[in-house]
Amino acid sequence: MRVPSAGVRRPNDRTSAATPSCHSDGSAPAAAPGSPVVALVGPPNSGKSTLFNAVTGGRRTVGNWPGTTVETGRAAWQLPDREVELLDLPGAYSLDAHSPDEQLTRDLLIDGPVVERPAVVVVVVDAAHLSRSLYLVAQLREVGQRLVVALTMGDVAEGRGIGVDSAVLAGQLGVPVVPLDPRRREGGRRLAATVSQALAGPARGPRAVGERDASDELAVADERFAWVEAAVGAATSSPAEPPTTFSDRLDRWLTARFVGPVAFLAVMWAVFEMTTAVAVPVQDLVGNFFAGPVTAAVETAFAGVGLGDSWVQMFVVDGLVAGVGMLLTFVPLMVIMFALLALLEDSGYLARAAVVTDRLMRAVGLPGKAFLPLVVGFGCNVPAISATRILPSARHRVMTALLVPFTSCSARLTVYVMVAATFFPRHAGTVVFGMYLLSIALIVVVGLGLRRTLWRAVGEEPLVLDLPPYQRPTLRLTASVTWLRVRGFLRTAGGIIVATVTVVWLLQAVPAQGGAAFGHVPPDDSLFAALARLVAPVFAPLGFGDWHTCSALVVGFVAKEAVITSWAQTYAAADPTAGQSPVELQGHLHAAFAASAGGATVAAVFAFLVFLLAYTPCVATVATQLREIGARWTAFGIALQVSLAWALGLAVFQVGRLLG
């Protein structure tokens, strides 16, 4: 047994201490020495502390139980015929000792010697959650103990259409049941009288326990739950149809097998439409800001220090301002999209979207849990691959990590929006939405392919999604989540993209052949263009064999945002206005795709978008794959992504050209 600390006597000698605890708030004396101890127990949020305060007048002594960090309260309680010490034990669902609180309650009530147990135990039972609350009663009824049930939350139960017959419940449980409402200070006297009667009478014998294997924890718990269910079934009346909540009514549609996916697609289409419709005009304004005041200020500053027209100025203006500045024009787009997604998440809708997605994954035979990292992948592939750790089997982890790169991350969104706004200005949102649909289709098809070839034995495991109720989104939370995500975008722009821009600029500044000075090379004669032309023939059958486009895709291997900065840089070197204004850059893209596609521009643009979606997302994703699934599977994944991207791009362009 634990040894009580000085000044605190344990109450489990059935009589109370006269000395106040060192933790005492000093507002109340404990009960008189020799008073019986009554313990108050119950699950969290059952109204136990409210009842304690109501019957004792709120005067309590608070302190940690000796030898533990578990806080208990005690106070004198005046019954009709005597004073007792009421001990407020921590909230506990059971006596199974899953937590220190439950361990202490168990020690005091059933593990300690009978003579040291409280004289009476009052179990606070929530009438609105009877099944949850009565498990404790089932356990306490297995030992010889004086018990009284205090039935709280009757008004809440009534509001839900649940009627509780306390007399029947008392008969079923074999203990007195006192309905009361401690918040209104109703029923306290009845409880005091009932406890007084219990103290005067003998302890009731243990309940008859059904046949069960005492060593089988589940069987023991099941017998108790069955006993509880029998009591609840006999003592309660519920409406034939439980009252449906607002969330229930919405979920009936939003998670339905057919309507759910349609609603999900409609919501996501609306998100992309709103994003592009609002953001693209703002994007032009931001672009003009970089093209005008920012560029002018930088040029003036360099001229002021005698470095006008130097390679340093070119690096800053054609490299950093053009490349990073162009990427920053996407900040409004990211703000709007992240804010809309945060609103959906905060409202509780995205949880329903996860249910719909989960069903789709299962329908095509993918492991149920795998949809979670895949959903995360639509934000960023890197944490999504890390999230595969939640999958219990190595096969599941590898398979899902191979599928994640096909989820269309937000970095790819910037390129979709730029290309869609350039070539399909009136339908940009729909084109972007289509890319996300294609992403889902790719996951499904590649997943099925992998299952039918590499992982025929991958099985499903049970999974239940417990949905939160819908709620009104809060401005503070939406703004906070939006900022955190935009900050990540800005970090990328300020880190890896600046490094990429620098490397691209250096390659552009170096002449492929002699005859030009460093930093004064015509773009077509630069080392960058020469290297890009080496890979251009690979993309010629796909309709985008122009070296600017090919080099952007190669640079995009570092990070997808770099596709835009690369375009801005390579065109800015030849035409300074192109890198500093989205409108000017769009003109160059039109010309490049028209030339490389032999007139089949639309087919080439779609082939480019499909290739962009399917090929390796970024070096960070590759590094994470290496860490999570090893070099062999990472290499397999890259080969799969690049070859699939190329084949799909080829098919789209060739078929599009024939149709167009």
């Binding site: 739950f225 905060d346 949880a351 069903r359 960023c380 944490p383 999974l463 417990d466 990540g488 945002e561």
Partner: protein
């Protein structure tokens, strides 16, 4: 009246129930009983409950701001320390 409510709930998981409502339909248990049984199975370690966020709570790698103070904030560990509001709770059978 079920004589083994907890085993019935576990069987409902195995039968493919996807929500508490479906568990209630398969077992014949009321909503409160299903909640109580799931809560108890989670405390027993027979079920695993994991809170999930479809997004990333903040800071960190790439353009999705996934980490918080250097710790990954992906769906596996969400909601992060700064997250509040509704989250998706996933329950799985622990084998």
């Amino acid at each position: 009246m079920s004589s083994s409510p907890l085993r019935d709930v576990l069987a409902a998981f195995d039968a493919g129930a996807r929500s508490r409502t479906e568990i209630g339909e398969l077992t014949g248990l009321g909503r409160d009983s299903v909640d109580a049984a799931i809560g108890h199975l989670v405390r027993m370690g027979r079920l695993e409950a994991r809170e999930l966020s479809t997004g990333c709570p903040g800071g960190g790698c790439g353009s999705c701001a996934s980490g918080v103070d250097g710790a990954p904030g992906c769906g596996a560990s969400a909601p992060g320390p700064r997250r509040s509001g509704p989250v998706l709770v996933q329950l799985t059978v622990r084998r």
